[in-house]
């Protein structure tokens, strides 16, 4: 079964500055995953645990939070608080029998850096390996898992191709 993971990225104003400037097309060219969406905040420390959980309720397969380096947050402690909240959600996911790796915190420098794209790609690859979220509700999710029918095993065409 193949699917395009729904990845919700919550990032602060500063770490996403250039990513936003790139625009959708620019990001696509840079290799930004098709199923990833950017949710911009004034500071990652503004994120509440309930917001991260809501993302899973709304059908996210993976969630990542991008904030400033722990010792360089514009709001001093914001990204550290965000990291703690990510850990709280991770712990809760494990309690529910779900892979904690579905949520991750990244501390990145401000402005555009290839690391921003890399973080999204890393999450995309990770979630493709883990598979769709066990919380997914196929009726309500915006990005339903597409089942790819197995191709029937056909005998390979004889060498030389078809006779004209």
């Amino acid at each position: 079964m193949s699917f395009t993971p729904d990845i919700q990225i919550f990032c602060c104003h500063y770490t996403s500055q250039q990513a936003i400037a790139e625009g959708t097309d620019g990001l696509k060219e840079d290799g930004f995953p098709a199923g990833a969406a950017i949710n911009r905040l004034s500071c990652s420390g503004k994120l509440q645990v309930s917001v991260l959980l809501k993302a899973f309720e709304d059908g996210a397969d993976g969630v990542c939070v991008v904030g400033c380096p722990a010792d360089k947050c514009h709001n001093v402690m914001g990204s550290q608080r965000a990291a703690h909240r990510v850990l709280a959600v991770r712990k809760a996911l494990v309690e529910l029998g779900v892979e904690g790796e579905r949520i991750e915190m990244f501390h990145l420098e401000r402005g555009f850096h290839p690391e921003f794209i890399e973080a999204a790609v890393l999450m995309d690859e990770r979630i493709r390996t883990l598979g769709a979220s066990p919380f997914r509700d196929e009726k309500t999710t915006k990005n339903p898992v597409k089942k790819v029918p197995q191709k029937s095993a056909k005998k390979p065409a004889p060498k030389g191709g078809k006779k004209k």
Partner: protein, 222 residues
């Protein structure tokens, strides 16, 4: 305040296995201050319960509310406003709140959302420690304000045990020997002689060993 901690989510999901609609009820008292059962925690638990049930392939509807307190009759009576809208209540108050709901709402099913721990305070952000055992017979006037019942691992009443080493408790190296602290504090405040007063054999009946405790104030009863 009363210190509590949210139960593991899987345990609560299991509790509400038969319910389709749950009232998640927080308390703005102690559990709100220690971030276990206030408005924010209600929102989180409700979300986790919905996710947990969704994972098990069923839908759970939740109502989220937070009472001023759950240890007073008038606030419990306010639950009437949701009559017929829930199959079970998950109370995020301390055990007192759960008991009050059970006492006053005989036909309601109520489950605890938190584990009630102790009487304590926040010694640093995100850390709460036990300070009082609620033993019903306070001796803090003799011990420099530091409680040996709650804070000595053995609840000793007449000085430290032989395991007190360098001011640290032998049971847990992360906590100070409270009798060392009591000694130091009494000495510092010129009350060292209080250490020589021998505490008599203690009557623990006030500590719950004589059954559930009750306080009656005739000046307040009506």
């Amino acid at each position: 305040m009363i210190i509590a901690e949210r139960k593991p989510v899987a345990e609560i999901v299991e509790m509400v296995a038969d319910a389709k609609r749950v009232l998640v009820l927080g308390c703005r008292g102690c559990v709100s201050v220690c971030s276990a059962g206030g408005e924010r925690e209600v929102e989180i638990l409700a979300s986790l319960l919905r996710l947990g049930c969704k994972k098990k392939g069923r839908e759970l509807k939740t109502i989220e509310a937070t009472m001023v307190r759950q240890c007073d009759r008038e606030y419990i009576d306010a639950i009437d406003q949701w009559d017929g809208q829930y199959d079970a209540i998950v109370s995020m108050a301390c055990g007192v709140g759960v008991n009050f709901i059970a006492n006053l709402r005989p036909t309601d099913i109520v489950y605890p959302g938190v584990n009630t721990g102790c009487y304590g305070g926040s010694t640093e952000q995100g850390v709460w420690t036990e300070q009082c055992a609620g033993c019903g017979n306070c001796v803090l006037h003799l011990t420099g304000g530091l409680c040996p019942v709650a804070r000595c691992a053995k609840s000793l009443m007449n000085g430290p045990c032989g395991g007190s080493q360098n001011g640290v408790c032998e049971i847990n190296k992360d906590i100070p020997c409270i009798w060392q602290s009591i000694h130091d504090r009494l000495q510092r405040t010129g009350r060292r002689a209080d250490m020589d007063k021998v505490a008599p054999i203690r009557d623990w009946s006030t500590s719950g060993h004589g059954g559930p405790r009750k306080v009656v104030r005739d000046d307040l009863t009506v």
